[in-house]
Each structure stands twice: as C-alpha cells, then as structure tokens.
Subunit: 354 residues, 2 copies
Amino acid sequence: MKKNILVIPGDGIGPEVTTWGKAALEKIAEIFGHEFVFDEALMGHAAIEVTGEPLPDETLEKARKSDAILFGAIGHAKYDNDPSLKVRPEQGLLKIRKELGLFANLRPILLFDELLQASSIKPEILRGTDILFFRELTGDVYFGEKIRSEDRNTASDLMIYHRYEVERIAHKAFQAAQQRNKRLCSVDKANVLESSRLWRETVQEIAKQYPDVETEHMFIDNAAMQLIKNPKKFDVVLTANLFGDILTDEASQIAGSMGMLASASVGESTGFFEPIHGSAHDITGKDLANPLASILSAALMLEIGFGLKDEAKLLVDTIDEVLKEGFRTHDIADQSTNRFKVLGTAEMGKLVLK
Amino acid sequence: MKKNILVIPGDGIGPEVTTWGKAALEKIAEIFGHEFVFDEALMGHAAIEVTGEPLPDETLEKARKSDAILFGAIGHAKYDNDPSLKVRPEQGLLKIRKELGLFANLRPILLFDELLQASSIKPEILRGTDILFFRELTGDVYFGEKIRSEDRNTASDLMIYHRYEVERIAHKAFQAAQQRNKRLCSVDKANVLESSRLWRETVQEIAKQYPDVETEHMFIDNAAMQLIKNPKKFDVVLTANLFGDILTDEASQIAGSMGMLASASVGESTGFFEPIHGSAHDITGKDLANPLASILSAALMLEIGFGLKDEAKLLVDTIDEVLKEGFRTHDIADQSTNRFKVLGTAEMGKLVLK
Ligand SMILES: CC(C)[C@H](C(=O)O)[C@@H](O)C(=O)O
Ligand SMILES: CC(C)[C@H](C(=O)O)[C@@H](O)C(=O)O
C-alpha cells in the first residue's frame, strides 16, 4: 500500500514525540512492505515564528493532498499568559479541523493492564474499562462568533449547533456502538442549554434507527462524576466539542496518563491523528515526554485511516510488551517502588521500535 | 439570634433531605438558644404542578424577605426526556439565583477521614485534600440569550461575561484564599474562548491586589484531569458558571459521594444553601437518599449566612462522629465489607440529631 503522510510536529513536546510516531510508521512500512511517503509542515507557534500565521497556506495545501496527517501538539506559554494577543497557535489547529471537515474526533480510552496502578483511580474500579469517545470537532462554542466589546469589558462566544452537525456524528457513534458493546451515552446540558436540547432531540431521533443500541442521555456534570465513579458503565460516549474536550482529558486518568492516549479526527477526507496531550512547555526538550501516545496515534492512523488492522495491532502489542517488561516513562512510573525501569523519550521510542 | 429561614424542598429527593437539614437547624436553635422562624415555599416541578410556574411570585417574595434559604433539589425525568417542553423546573433555580443576585457559589470539598475508602480514587491521593470552589453563578452561557431557529434546526446559547461579573467573584475568591492556604487556581479555556480571555485578563489584574496569594491559571480540560490526578495541589479554585458546574460534580468523588457536599450561594443579600446533588428521581421516596448534604447545607447557613461558627462546627463534628461509629447511607457504604451499618435517609437523619 502506498500512502502520503504529512507530519506536523507543532509546538512544545510535539516534535520530540512525533519523531517516534513517524519512526513507528516507517518500521511498519518496512515490516509489511508498504510505501509511506512523508512530508513535513508547520503549525501553531512554530508556524507563527516563521510565517506569522498559525496555519500557513502551504501547510493546508500539503494537508489536503496527503492521505493522513500525524500531528504532535500545539500551544505556547507566551500566549497563555497574555490573553490579549490576536494571533494564537491554537487557531491553527481549529482552522485545520474546520478546513478538512474533521467533524468526528474518536478518542479510545485504551487501558493497558500494566498501567492499572499508574492511575489515581483504584484498579478495581478501572479494570475492564473500555470507552470510545466521539467528540464533535467542528462546531459548538469553539467556532461560534466571538465578540469583544469596544470598551473591552464584555466578551462572548456563541455556543451553536445545527441539526446536521449532530446527525452526522451521531450516526458515526451509533455505528461504532453496534460494532462494540451496543451501549451509547450521549452527554449534554439539556436542562439549561438550548443547543443541548437540539443535541438531545436529534440524538433521540437518530437512536430510533439503531434499536439494537441501548441509548442513554446524561448531563455533563453528572457524566464528569460517573466517569470516575464507575467508568465501566460506559461504552460509546457521544459529546459536543467543549464537553468532549473536558471529559476526554479527565478520562486520561483512566488510562493512567495523558501520555498514553491518542485520537483520530475524521470526516470528509484526510484523517488527522494526534496524541490528546498538549504541548507541555514545562517538560519540553528535557527528554521526559511519553512518546507512546504518538506511536498510538500512528496505530490509529493505520487502523482507522488505512484499514490496516494487523499493522496497528503490532504496534499496540509491542507497547503492551514493553510495559510488561517493566519499562516506563516518567508520567507512568510509580515512584514509590523501584520495580520499574524509567526511560527518557528517546530510549522508550527506540525500545518500542526494536 | 433571631432569623427567618425559608425552606424550599423542591423536587425528587429534595423534600426527603431538607426535612433533616431543617430539623438540624431546629435542634441547633434549641441547644444554643436561637430563634429560627421557618416558612416554606415551592419551586421547580413541584411549583409547576401547582401554579404553572417554576418560580411562583410568592416564593420569590418570601425569599426576598427571609434571612437565608435552605433548598433541596430540582428537576424531573419528564422534562429531561422531552427537550421540547417550554416550562422547565430548572428555570426556577436559575431565576432565583439571578433575582437574588447570588453571584458566588461556594462549594467546599470537605473530606471526612472516614470516607476516604468510599471514593473511587485512591485514599493516598485524596488524604489531605481541602478545596474551596468559587463558581460564578449568575452569568455565562447559563444566562446568555438562547435562540432556536424557526425551522428548529439551529440552536444557540450565548456564553458571555462582563468584566464586573468576573471582578466581584474574583475578589471573594482571593479574600478566601488569604484566609486559607494562599493559593488560587483560576480555570478557563482562554486558548479558545474570548469570554475566557476576558476572564483570565481580569483575574490577572485582580491578582495584583493580592500579592500574598499564589495565582495559577489552568485550562478547563487540564483542570478536569489534575483534579483527580492530584487534588491536593488545589486550594481555592475560581471558575465560571459552566466549568464550575462540571468540576464540582467531578470533585464530589473526592468527598466520596455527591451525598456529602453542600454549597452556599451568596451575593447581594439573602444567602441560599443547598446540597450539590440533584433530584435523583431514581431513588426518590425509597428512603435511600443521603441527608448529610442537607445537614451540611444547614451548617454552611449557620457559618456563612449567620456567622455562627460554633453551631456549624457542632453539626460537622456530629456527622464526623456518626461516620466514625460506622454508620453509612447507601451511597457511602462500601458494599464489599460488612463493617458498616447501612441506614435509610430517616434513620441517618435521626441519628445525627440525637
Ligand atoms: C489545544 C486546544 C485548542 C484543543 C481543544 O480544546 O480542542 C486541545 O485541548 C484538544 O483537546 O485537542
Ligand atoms: C440543576 C442545574 C440547573 C444546576 C446547574 O447546572 O447549575 C445544578 O447542576 C447545580 O450545579 O446546581
């Protein structure tokens, strides 16, 4: 199989980790005889530095022409501390999601048995958890009109949904539920928000077409609680953009660390694969980042982007093995025991490739 | 001390639990020689049934005349399952918050040592946690304009903040931090939302007036994760209405159960005290609800509303003692051991009063 893959390292630890996601894809190509052709492009702070734009036209063009994109992370402390800056790294990520029509963000909460202990949640609560999040990615308050009054004393963002936006992701989520444990939980705040009432109405409507799936509706506040109280009760979780952002970061504690979770954004054409962790300025360049989320992003690209199940499985199994052998990065190492061999980013990357 | 207290039982388990919050106040009045004069009023589904309105004028009038309000819970399955209903219970709660100017919602995460085991989070992660949330309560997407298009295919809610709204709650939060461990974490989504950028800007400005408080800004997605990863790192948490709704429900797992958390809403005049749990239709009338959050709401009324510290302490200490003696309601009983004596709502209420 021949595929064109665009690598966008982005900001912070992005470059450090995508090195290993890319290397994993190269290794897979070698083993299975595929031809992956790589190109690279700028986005975020890295792009602003060079071109003044968080998403240069050249990057967008390359993205459109590629079969899949491997992305790293976005964001920089400079902008976080100065809310008044007009050009911001995150605009690049939001724009590419919108331009490529990446309306469905899939975030599987993959639990490695070996990492049960790395979580702040009790292992007996976690064991057996297997959740697949469908986060809507191109609507909601992320993309609604943003207004700052002239005196700068009032600011607003429009939380807005159109029925078709809810329908198309709902179908994807229900179809996934049919392939899994046939349970779907849709999360909203319909007791307060009109956009959530449209969301709930629409999901109720679509649910009728999937009578084999058991559908539940939950308020976001309750969901944020249930997710850590009893994560096993969830199978597919369907949410709007903002609620999905919050819930999936929270859910990273189920997997032991943000450093272990990857996501796939799909929609109209090219798929976009990235770790769910951020740019992590505080550990950038220190060889402390966990490269496994990027390697798992590569696995998602193989499985969801290219339909290469065996190839994806090899990557996941290899990570499992490395963990079983006691190797850890800092974020997933239990500091209270010396049972683990704690590795830097590069050592862990190399080990998985071997 | 003479005080007029309005009891609004509300919906679902509201009446069952406020019975005990009220009884606790009566008992305290008796012991300490105060005069608490009680009145009662309707709100939510209970009020809609009788008057057609979720917040009847009579309730609002009584509320304005009282010194403090003890509230139960709001909401009903009928409305949750039918997003198209125009008159909804929650409108009553939102309206009373707005009408009484209750802009600051204080949610202390009170950890009873005895309940460390009741949480899904590991005891060693929890031990020593002491967080006080300041949730803004009369602004945000809760109160911004709600629009449904004529064809009903588009729906929106305006997420909006004015600088003065952020300032007044920020001052309260910083002042509380000065009395506590002098750390404040402000939560927003300033990397995406304009209203969050106003929020962050304003908090940064106000922070200069409290140089003795260590201020940190965190994105909501990260906060949802950190809260369960390392709850001890938080002291005062300051958030907008929606983010506060989500984070505090999530934080209830730190306290072992929603059934253990109370909140105080304060602002321009009369204070409003309520459990953070909801109406819990599924257990209504089954004598399964935990009355402790309502009794803790009464304690907050005594302390924050009336400045009666000893009286509040007596209630909290009594609950502590009852827990130490092994008594539990269903929500906080560890089913895997028979070390606990599991009580119904009424039995637990009576026991605390004794
Ligand atoms: C960086 C930020 C804009 C982004 C988001 O909020 O969508 C990130 O948190 C994510 O979850 O991918
Ligand atoms: C019932 C609902 C409107 C309310 C809210 O969202 O504010 C509740 O969840 C709360 O936290 O008090």
